[in-house]
Structures are given as structure tokens and as C-alpha cells.
């Protein structure tokens, strides 16, 4: 299987801190990579380097024809704005010169009903807002989706539904998925490979190898509970 992404000896320095050091991994087409690690390990920094928003050393090679969709974790914005879900998606339609019907298709894919899409984004629940951001990322037909902590700000029953939806969208759209997650049980179920970042040496491999109790204790500095299904 061809690789969509190849990363070699990637280092990122922010200010005077070396956040990522000598990172090497690859992502095959159509697979799901989960990035795990404690807070401050540089997961979001890695994503931002991958989309070209941060300077870095080393190599980041996207396969030719890769179109990236990116869903960030935290937004540095006020939510209480007179911008509706539809305003936001139609802005993307206009920028990406997509046919106008694409907005409805994207809403449909993520299961966001039209009457909610017509409301200002400030009235959206955490889960609805994540769906909106995902719909935005899916417009313009990306073949790679980078999703930073899909379930931050989403309640627990919502989490499960959100992951189910991401998995469904990944299959329907034949996406390669890069996912940052704290939900180790989800990672175990969905990920083809796991990349763990921590102050110790980073590790990379299939979940059965990486998600062992000893490894997790090494990565997070404490035993972490999670359940296999």
C-alpha cells in the first residue's frame, strides 16, 4: 500500500523549547493513525507542522495529490458571533469553488440537520460544533483528514456517536485519517497504527504492540485505565 505521508527526523522548536525531536513515521493510504501522549507532548504541534503552519527541521512528505482537511482542537475565537453554520460552510464552498450543493452534502455526511445549520454557531452544542468543523473540513473533498481531539467539549454519550460518525465518514469518503485522541479504547478499536509522543522516546506501531500497560505507563507517567472491546 502506498504511503500518503512520510515523516523523517522531524524536529520542531518553539521559542527555545524543542517540542518534537527526531520523529520518524509513515501513514499508508486509507489507514488510521492515532497520535497519543500526555498534555504538552507536542501532539497539536505535530499536526500544525504537518499542515505547514509551523516551521520545522527534517522531512514531511505528502503524496502527490493529497488534499488535507483539518479540524483543530481549540479555536481562538469568540463563539457568540452572528455567523450561522451555513454561513461558515458556504464560505468554504465559495473559497474552494465547489458546487453549492456540496454544503448540503457535507451537512448530511456529518448528520447535522438543516434547521440547526441555519442557527448562529454560538448556539451549537459541543458535539454539533465538532460536526460543523468536520463538515467544513470535508468540503472540497479531502483525501486526508487530520482531527485534533474530536471529543474535547463533548459529553460521554456524544463521544461514542462522534467516533462512530468519523469512522463512517472515513469509510464513505475513503479517507486516510490522522487522529489525536486520549480515548485509548477508541484508539485500540479504530487505529491501524499508533504514534505515541512523550518525554521518553516516541514509539510507533500497531495498537497491540504500543498499547500495553507497561508502554502506557511509560508514556503517561502513570497507569491509565482503558477497556478493550
Amino acid at each position: 500500500m502506498a504511503n500518503v505521508l512520510e515523516v523523517e527526523s522531524l524536529s520542531v522548536v518553539l521559542g527555545k523549547t524543542e517540542v518534537l525531536r527526531d520523529l520518524t513515521f509513515s501513514v499508508a493510504q486509507g489507514t488510521a493513525l492515532a497520535v497519543i501522549g500526555p498534555n504538552g507532548a507536542g501532539k497539536t504541534v505535530l499536526f500544525r507542522a504537518l499542515i505547514g503552519a509551523l516551521p520545522y527541521d527534517g522531512t514531511i512528505r505528502w503524496a502527490q495529490g493529497s488534499r488535507l482537511g483539518y479540524v483543530p482542537q481549540k479555536l481562538d475565537m469568540e463563539r457568540d458571533l452572528p455567523i450561522t453554520g451555513r454561513d461558515f460552510l458556504e464560505a468554504k464552498v465559495s473559497v474552494s469553488h465547489a458546487p453549492p450543493a456540496e454544503a448540503d452534502r457535507a451537512f448530511d455526511l456529518v448528520g447535522l440537520p438543516p434547521d440547526i445549520a441555519a442557527e448562529p454557531i454560538g448556539t451549537f452544542s459541543g458535539g454539533q460544533f465538532q460536526r460543523l468543523l468536520l463538515a467544513f473540513a470535508l468540503l472540497g473533498r479531502p483525501n486526508v483528514l487530520l482531527f485534533d481531539e474530536p471529543t474535547s467539549g463533548v459529553d460521554e454519550p456524544g463521544e461514542e456517536r462522534l467516533y462512530e460518525m468519523i469512522r463512517r465518514v472515513q469509510q464513505v469518503e475513503r479517507l486516510t485519517l490522522l487522529l489525536i485522541s486520549h480515548e485509548l479504547s477508541v484508539v485500540f478499536r479504530y487505529a491501524t497504527n499508533v504514534l505515541c509522543l512523550s518525554r521518553a522516546r516516541p514509539c510507533f506501531g500497531p495498537p497491540e504492540e504500543i498499547l500495553t500497560p507497561e508502554r502506557i505507563e511509560q508514556v503517561y507517567g502513570a497507569p491509565l485505565k482503558y477497556h478493550h472491546h
Binding site: P72, L75, L81, P82, F88, E90, A91, S94, V95, A137
Partner: protein, 253 residues
């Protein structure tokens, strides 16, 4: 007042309303007010060297814009502080350079007395700013929600930011003669703040902001002529009355 004067002030109000929407949504209300002060030392220097004051003001605004832009690209938190310091300094320096009546004119604007060239340039500037905001609204909205999502959508975020700040400065420059350094920032911010409070969609916000800005400007001119007061302060007072009148009208769920 002649209809050409009305056309110019209405054009300026339209530009102010449109630019203001994104200034308010980007939470740069205070920064933008401070930024308009940077025109003052430019006007002061222009008066010293006997150049047209608006040219001096525009040159200073251009400098201020580039300064804010380069600061924003480095750190995010420090920007507001630096803007506060640098532009208060600009106000101080400007006040030292211009004195007496000149200073009052620069701060609060001068009534009437516009030449054909000034009129033409004013209308062209208002048109350019309005065309920029309306044609780039999609890009501006996406960059507002998330710069990273804008980047992955193929939007050149840094360039868009610079163009927006330039449009903002040009709008301030448009109002310099009319409203002065202190009040032009207010005509950009207050109608947009009214609109943000009342609107439920982007189209509504742009429309309400433009409506409130034009209404304040035109009504302000008529009222000021009747009560024999300077136009600028009356315009801003009406804009503020509209803002407070809108407060209880919110239609949100």
C-alpha cells in the same frame, strides 16, 4: 450641504460599517481604536512641513498598519499591550506637534470645505474598501474562525491579514477630515457592535452595520447643522444612541 457631500459621507459610512464588522468579530475593537490614533503624529508632521494633513495621516496609518501586522505575526498576546503603548505614544507625539485649533481639527474633524480632488479620492477609497470586504468576506470569515483551517483551505492568511489592516487604515483615513482621529475609530466600531448584537447571520450583520453607520452619519449632519455644533461628535452620539437602543432588542434564543 450639497448632495456630493452627502454621497461622500455616506460612502465613508458604508466602508466603516463593513470594515467594522470584522474588526468587532476579531475582537480588535480596542486595538483598532488605538490604531486610528496613529494618524495624529502624521497630521502633525504634515502641518509642520506644510503638506496636506490627510496625506500625512495616511502615511502614518500605513506605517502603523505594517507595525501591527508584523507584531501580530510574532506573538499573539503581546500585541494588544504593544498597540496600547505605541499608539498612546503616537497620540502624545501628535499632540506635541500639532497645537491649538489644528489639534482640535485633527482630533475631532473639520466641517465641510472639501475640494473636488478630495471628494473623488474619498469616494474611490470608500468604494475600494467596500469592494474588498464584500469580495473577501468568505476568506475573512474562515480566517476569523481558525487561521489553521484557513491555511488548509488554501487561503494565504498573512496576506489577507495585511490587506484587511490596510483596508481598515484606509477607512480611518477617509474619515480623518470629517470625523477626526478620535471619532473615526468609533464610526468603525459602534455600528458594527450594534449589528453584532442584533444580527443572527453574516448577511444581517453586514446590512445592519452599514445601515446604522449611514443613518448615524446622515442624521448627524442634519442635526449638527440645525443645532450649530461640530458634525463629528453628533454623528458618534447618534451611533451610540442606536447601540443602546438595540441592547434590549436582542432576538437570540
Amino acid at each position: 450641504m450639497a448632495w456630493t457631500g452627502f454621497a461622500l459621507s455616506a460612502g465613508m459610512a458604508v466602508a466603516a460599517g463593513l470594515v467594522g464588522c470584522f474588526a468587532v468579530m476579531r475582537r480588535m475593537a480596542l486595538a483598532s481604536d488605538a490604531m486610528s490614533h496613529v494618524a495624529l503624529p502624521g497630521i502633525g508632521l504634515a502641518l509642520v512641513f506644510r503638506v496636506h494633513p490627510v496625506l500625512g495621516g495616511m502615511a502614518a496609518l500605513l506605517f502603523g498598519t505594517l507595525l501591527v501586522w508584523s507584531l501580530e505575526r510574532r506573538t499573539r498576546i503581546a500585541t494588544e499591550t504593544v498597540i496600547g503603548v505605541v499608539f498612546s505614544l503616537a497620540l502624545a507625539v501628535g499632540s506635541m506637534l500639532a497645537t491649538g485649533e489644528e489639534l482640535m481639527d485633527a482630533l475631532l474633524g473639520t466641517p465641510g470645505r472639501l475640494g473636488v480632488l478630495e471628494m473623488g479620492m474619498g469616494l474611490a477609497g470608500a468604494l475600494a474598501v467596500s469592494a474588498f470586504v464584500l469580495s473577501q468576506r468568505s476568506r475573512l470569515v474562515i480566517a476569523l474562525v481558525s487561521a489553521d483551517m484557513a491555511r488548509t483551505s488554501g487561503i494565504p492568511v498573512a496576506r489577507l491579514e495585511l490587506l484587511y489592516l490596510l483596508a481598515f487604515s484606509l477607512t480611518v483615513a477617509l474619515g480623518l477630515r470629517y470625523l477626526g482621529v478620535l471619532l473615526m475609530g468609533s464610526l468603525i466600531i459602534i455600528p458594527a457592535a450594534t449589528a453584532k448584537h442584533l444580527a443572527r447571520s453574516l448577511d444581517q450583520m453586514l446590512a445592519i452595520a452599514v445601515g446604522a453607520a449611514v443613518l448615524s452619519t446622515v442624521a448627524g449632519e442634519i442635526v449638527a447643522a440645525h443645532v450649530h455644533r461640530a458634525t463629528g461628535p453628533v454623528i458618534i452620539a447618534i451611533a451610540a444612541v442606536l447601540f443602546f437602543a438595540g441592547l434590549p432588542l436582542r432576538r437570540r434564543g
